[in-house]
């Protein structure tokens, strides 16, 4: 499949005074893509989004939109729209007027404007509220109007800065599905900023993990989760156990390592060139317990137990160190292991990943 390039960010660096907020960031976003910028607070996600919108200028580097260089173009000349974190609806205008604002500035005639506003209100299920003002809406409704306002001018790219963070949990879940649906329906490229890994994994076509002002990894949700390329990504996305390991041999994408448990395993590696020290990352749900233990076996003692509803987290002390193990609470309730109990654990070679330290 060959898709056009919607946004290209090339070697973009941003400094605020002496502070390096973004360091040589490059990536390409395709047409129709739901692209997520994910990273901890303060890693530069908003700054990156604001540079694409035109509210900040890169200190170095280039940004292009469908092949046109835009890094120095003022925001009102870029055919992208933003859904602001605080929504930023105009409080003195009705919802209709808010949605029509961009269309007026683009010089759409009245009939076309009215039709588009009606269509947008319909799309976000807010038609009965057309004449209200933003102050009379709930958070979720404001969110919808902010979306409608940003989508009305048919932007080439829609930028969303943590749009769900102000909503309560239930609504957030519903809005995820709605957003995803809107993206499919409109075919517009979405750049979505969040610090919430669940959101990113759930919604994105591809995720760009940002950390310390740099790109840590770009990939599909499953690539990011299953094949983290470094410690930062493995640590930030989901939960994992980090274990010391000794590299014996590297063969392309795999490595043979001696683990702290005593046995040797061969598995996928990233960033290693030869023998030396490395880190083994092992996800809690990839470790089998008792009846599910298979592969490399070891024993340990349950030292803590956290019941989470759908699954239970166990902390198990083993001779090689403490392991977090999670287990789904399936049909049978029998398999619950009490604190102090000795358990058998097992994991397969390819469940673990070897990462450079």
């Amino acid at each position: 499949m060959t898709r056009g390039k919607a946004v290209e960010v090339f070697n973009v660096t941003k400094r605020f005074g002496d502070y390096l907020a973004l360091d040589q960031v490059s990536f390409t976003i395709h047409e129709n893509e739901f692209f997520t910028l994910l990273g901890p607070s303060g890693c530069g996600k908003t700054t990156l989004l604001r540079m694409i919108a035109g509210f900040e200028t890169p200190s170095e580097g280039a940004i292009s939109l469908f092949g046109t260089e835009i890094a120095t173009l003022p925001p009102h000349k870029r055919h992208v729209n933003t859904v602001f974190q605080s929504y930023a609806l105009f409080p003195h205008m009705t919802l209709e007027q808010n949605i029509a604002f961009g269309l007026e500035n683009l010089g759409w005639d009245k009939a076309r404007r009215q039709a588009r506003v009606a269509e947008m209100l319909e799309m976000v299920h807010m038609t009965p509220f057309a004449r209200r003002r933003p102050a009379q809406l709930s958070g979720g409704q404001r969110q919808r109007i902010a979306l409608a306002r940003a989508l009305a001018p048919e932007p080439k790219v829609l930028l969303l800065d943590e749009p769900l963070s102000a909503l309560d949990l239930k609504l957030r879940q519903a809005m995820r599905d709605e957003l995803r649906e809107l993206q499919r329906m409109t075919g517009i490229t979405f750049i979505f900023v969040t610090h919430d890994q669940d959101e990113a994994l759930d919604m994105s076509d591809r995720i760009c993990v940002l950390g310390k002002g740099q790109i840590q990894q770009i990939g599909t949700p499953s690539e990011i989760y299953e094949e983290p390329e470094n410690r930062f990504v493995a640590d930030f996305i989901g939960e994992t156990n980090f274990l010391e390991a000794e590299v014996i041999a590297v063969e392309g994408a795999t490595a043979r390592v001696r683990t702290a448990f005593g046995f040797e395993i061969t598995t996928f590696q990233k960033g290693l060139t030869g023998p030396g020290r490395a880190t083994l990352s092992l996800r809690p749900e990839k470790i089998g317990m008792e009846d599910q233990a298979a592969g490399n076996l070891l024993t340990g003692t349950v030292s803590a137990k956290n019941y989470m509803g759908g699954y239970t987290h166990y902390t198990v002390d083993t001779p090689a160190g403490v392991l977090r193990v999670s287990r789904r609470n399936a049909v049978s309730q029998a398999q619950s292991y009490e604190i102090g109990r000795e358990v058998r654990l097992g994991f397969r070679d390819d469940s673990a990943r070897v990462l450079a330290q």
Binding site: A53, G54, F55, P74, P75, H76, K77, V80, N81, T82, F84, Q85, S86, A88, L89, F90, P91, H92, F101, G102, N105, L106, A135, R149, A150, P153
Partner: protein, 287 residues
């Protein structure tokens, strides 16, 4: 608690009665009194002073309509309105620039805006007398550019002085209104293809109306009663209500007429305040 509500307010009421109500009643009484033989007044009840505002006696002693005082009232209103409008137009960009500086810079600039208040009003107006005078900076520039005559003692000179005197009263509330504005709203404007000018007109302006309205009251009301600028910069050639009142209590020695004009001026101020309060209440009801 009840006792405090009543007795606790006694000092405030006392102050109001002594400094506002009593003088007001005196002025009202004087405005219906007769002119004293040697200035001052003599107690009486007559509406003559009010009639004097609209009519004058011709040679035969008949009352005929005479618009000369109406012209003064009109000029006063026009100058106060012009002052308010110019202050608004100047204060908006000034307040915007101040509101978008760093906090330190903001404090410094606000201090500068209020700085003229530390100097006596008379000194400040005299300063303009010098600046606009034939030997002043502006006066010379005017002559150098081929301007005719003197800038002083014109409506323009008065206007300059009034705008200068009252503009801080406009800048401060407008600044407060702009500062309350969410910066994301301005970005939203630009994001939705509005030029700076369109954003200013369609987003900043409507949302700073409350500040502009407050500033308009603060400027317009004292501008109606202004005395110094017409006296010094207008050279007393262009009478305004303030100078008219002053002259009646002074040189003209017609206290009742001066008091009548003063009450008309006050009635105008009250009308403006009522109109403003009604507007604010309507707005409150809508929100």
């Amino acid at each position: 608690m009840r006792g405090f509500r009543f007795w606790g307010l006694v000092p405030a009421w006392g102050l109001m009665v002594a400094t506002l109500m009593v003088p007001l009643v005196i002025v009202a009484l004087v405005s219906v009194a007769e002119r004293g033989a040697y200035g001052g007044f003599a107690w009486a009840f007559t509406l003559e002073p009010y009639k004097e505002i609209l009519f004058s006696e011709d040679w035969d002693g008949n009352l005929v309509f005479d618009p000369k005082y109406l012209a003064i009232i009109g000029r006063t209103l026009a100058l106060a309105a012009a002052t308010t409008a110019i202050c608004m137009a100047l204060a908006l960009p000034v307040a915007y620039v101040i509101a978008t500086r760093t906090p330190r810079m903001k404090a410094a600039l606000i201090y500068l805006v209020t700085l003229p208040f530390w100097v006596s009003m008379i000194v400040r107006v005299y300063a303009w007398l010098i600046i606009l005078g034939n030997d002043g900076v502006v006066g010379r520039a005017w002559a150098a550019l081929g301007g005719e005559g003197t800038l002083l003692f014109t409506s323009g000179a008065m206007l300059v002085g009034m705008v200068y005197s009252y503009i801080p009263l406009m800048v401060l509330p407008v600044f407060a209104a702009i500062e309350k504005l969410d910066p994301a709203l301005l970005e939203a404007g630009a994001d939705l293809y509005a030029s700076r000018w369109t954003t200013a007109r369609r987003v900043i302006l409507p949302l700073t109306w409350p500040g502009l309205a407050a500033g308009a009251i603060l400027v317009f009301v004292p501008a109606l009663g202004t005395v110094l600028e017409p006296m010094l910069l207008g050279g007393g050639k262009q009478m305004m209500m303030g100078t008219l009142i002053q002259s009646q209590f002074g040189g003209a020695r017609n206290w009742p007429f001066g008091a009548a004009v003063a009450l008309v001026l006050m009635a105008m101020v009250v009308l403006v305040l009522i109109a403003n309060a009604r507007r604010a209440m309507r707005k409150e009801a809508r929100a």
